[in-house]
């Protein structure tokens, strides 16, 4: 399951998507909406996605995990729209025979999700201002950013 949703994420959907009799571990990760960013109070968050590309990139991450760890049951779901403090924005589940690989693969999935999956976050501050979040990190895997040739004038 690789999905962008407007519905509340419970975790059951990703867990059920990966569980099976050969799994000795199911690692679940939830990202939740924090009430502050570097100490500045946050009222709520808004997420926007490019759904078809986001789901395609999630599937690619699962393929990478299959190649690195031989784990074939990975599920990822990300919510879009307005989210209140404490709500789940993203959930990842990985089933594995043993926990070590599951933990590693789950962390990898989240790291990659932040790098290549087209989803954007807008912070609505408690004082009413709002802004799109800019990541500190740059992509290491996507093609280099393009640049328009400098104008001569």
């Amino acid at each position: 399951m690789y999905k962008i949703t407007t519905e509340v994420i419970t975790g059951a959907e990703v867990r059920e998507a990966v569980e099976g009799p050969d799994a000795g571990a199911v690692v679940l990760f939830f990202g939740t909406v924090r009430n502050n960013t570097d100490g500045r109070p946050v009222r709520c968050l808004e997420y926007e996605a490019y759904p078809p590309m986001a789901e395609k990139k999630m599937a690619e991450i699962a393929q990478e995990i299959s190649e690195k760890w031989g784990l074939d049951r990975v599920a990822m779901i990300h919510r879009v729209g307005k989210l209140e403090i404490g709500e789940v924005s993203v959930a990842v589940a990985v089933a594995s025979p043993h926990r070590k690989d599951g933990f590693e693969a789950c962390k990898y999935a989240m790291d990659r999700l932040k790098q290549i999956v087209p989803i954007w976050k807008r912070e609505i501050w408690a004082d009413g201002e709002a802004e799109w979040v800019k990541p500190d990190a740059v992509f290491f895997d996507a093609p280099k950013p393009h640049k328009i040739d400098p104008q001569t004038d």
């Binding site: 909406v33 807008r122 740059v138 950013p145 328009i148």
Partner: protein, 84 residues
């Protein structure tokens, strides 16, 4: 040829639209679109340094050639997930 261009997040706000059809000359590339947007809104060029483009849901470069019916998107830096 006609292509669809999609704008997300900060691009959507800057251009005040989420998508549009563009009629481009044969042989057009992603760069053709970037140049056209820059003519309309010069400030957008400042964002090109940190922005990605996609063609048909795959990351592309400015030299990627376009064909009829392609779906192109401006991809601002992604921030899905959370800061952990």
């Amino acid at each position: 040829m006609n292509v669809t261009v999609k704008y997300f997040a900060v691009c959507h706000e800057m251009l005040d639209r989420s998508e549009e059809e563009m009629d481009l000359p044969e042989g057009a590339t992603v760069k053709t679109i970037l140049k056209r947007l820059e003519e309309e809104w010069p400030e957008i060029a400042e964002f090109y340094e940190v922005m990605q483009m996609s063609v048909n849901w795959e990351y592309a470069t400015e030299n990627t050639e376009l064909t009829e019916g392609d779906e192109v998107a401006l991809i601002p830096p992604v921030t899905g997930g959370l800061d952990v």
